[in-house]
Symmetry: C2
């Protein structure tokens, strides 16, 4: 079921990385982007050739645009009959499936997808063929989906070196809020303390910072406009998790202002944090998980 | 000014790491801990010999206990005349200097210190001789401090491979709140979401987590009791930074619940986060900074 011919629409970081990984696996790749420079950049990196009027129909079309553009690009690609199966790489899934339904797309051929990998860079220059190696790649079966396209998307993820994980779109979005979207906001809120030229960003003092601050602010470097799009499309799930985090932190801030600062509230949060971390490291990323093939919702 | 003979009181992770680094540099090291097993463990690792009644006076005594124990241990060590200079490794400085003054310690010989390095492990077993290599090591001059002990502490930090950074204790504490203490709380609050056996910690879904979640929750594994002690001793600085983070996150949570979710508030936080991250990575940790030798406060 491995695809032999793939078209990638959107040659940013993720799209170009997909193309590079597929090229290395011997797949024929056609590239398209509304920005001709981005296509040219990706092509120079060896990611494939430009999509042309006479490019044969692809086994899979990968839509690697920002989330809000996916449904429109999918509809247009299906209208042009560019492929037998279609998938995307956006960080939120259920709302895009609804978008695609509303836009009149052929849902039987659309596999909502999300490789759980990325870098804090943008554009084809940051792309890497091994970006997905050993990383989970979520694919979201839904009632209207035909088996052929799902198999093709699984084959594509595997060709990229990723571990395909089948998961209902609602489960994906709830999990992504906790493991990706809220972490991004916490990273941003912490890094934002250093955005202004006040004491906190005094270079002399900032030199005291160790690996902790660097690790905690790494993902804050992600492109603001892209993350804005992702977060607002998953607003319900994100705000629910964020509320719980804000509640915990506000309670601790209040406890630190008491006469005997900190107290049980602070110790409790630290203890729960250590427990949660222990659970997180117990689960290997990707590999260990059997694909979920149960009913979608 | 390099110390040739050092006594380390408190053979946990940091104390034992200091001892191992000094041993590698040829320093004679004596070890003490209220837990005889901890001393035995450190000694077995080659960190030095047990402090005895006939151990010669040390050039520097390193107090590597939890913050709240430092002043008491310092007073007792000075009463016994264990060393010519004294320093500690606790993550908060101004309150400990005040503790030491209240306890009647000889402040002329006490150099408040803080190596900005650590691991998410406890006890001597997690110790490593290279823990401090290339990392900043804050030392806090104060009006009562004599030059000899300060030089000895600088020499000790350098022998451990660290970059000594002289900084007023109040500046240290304000900076530590932003670069270490609040990041720890954010990490804990995020990891706490995975502490309970509910959906967020479903192992099947947790397998979707990538490097972002792992990096963001790494420091949450730190010993809760130790961090409780550090954070409550720096309560004022920590709560001030934490308030700003909570305000930003609460505003974004509210913005995500609007009809057109996210909006300018969300985009603004993401943009400020990216700016702050850019400032953070511009400053090399440790090396680039000239020691601050100006007036302390």
């Amino acid at each position: 079921m491995s695809p032999r011919r793939v078209t990638v629409i959107g040659t940013g970081l993720v799209g170009t990385s997909v193309a590079l990984a597929l090229r290395r696996a011997g797949v024929r790749v056609a590239l398209a982007d509304r920005d001709p420079d981005a296509v040219a950049g990706a092509a120079r990196m060896g990611a494939g050739g430009r999509l042309a009027a006479d490019t044969p129909r692809a086994d899979v079309v990968v839509i690697a645009t920002p989330p809000s553009a996916v449904a429109g690009v999918l509809r247009e690609a299906q209208r042009r009959g560019l492929g037998a199966a279609y998938t995307d790489v956006a960080g939120v899934k259920a709302p895009l499936l609804a978008d695609a339904a509303r836009a009149g797309c052929d849902l039987a051929a659309y596999v909502p997808g999300h490789p759980m990998a990325g870098r804090e860079l943008s554009g084809p220059a940051g792309a890497a063929a091994d970006l997905f190696r050993g990383r989970p790649w979520a694919l979201c079966p839904h009632p209207r989906l035909a088996p052929g396209p799902l198999n093709a998307a699984v084959g594509l993820a595997a060709l990229c070196g990723a571990d395909p994980v089948l998961v209902a779109s609602a489960d994906h979005d709830r999990t992504a809020a906790a493991v990706s979207h809220v972490p991004h906001l916490l990273s941003s809120a912490l890094a934002a303390r250093f955005a202004d030229a006040d004491d906190a960003s005094d270079p002399e003092l900032l030199a005291l910072a160790g690996r902790g601050l660097r690790d905690m602010t790494r993902i804050a470097a992600g492109a603001p406009a892209l993350w804005h799009d992702i977060l607002r499309r998953n607003a319900g799930e994100v705000s629910a998790v964020l509320d719980a985090v804000v509640r915990d932190l506000a309670e601790v801030a209040a406890a630190l202002r008491e006469d005997d600062p900190g107290g049980d509230r602070l110790l409790d949060l630290l203890a729960r944090g250590a427990q949660g971390r222990a659970r997180i490291v117990k689960v290997p990323s990707g590999r260990a998980v059997p694909p979920r093939t149960g009913p979608t919702r």
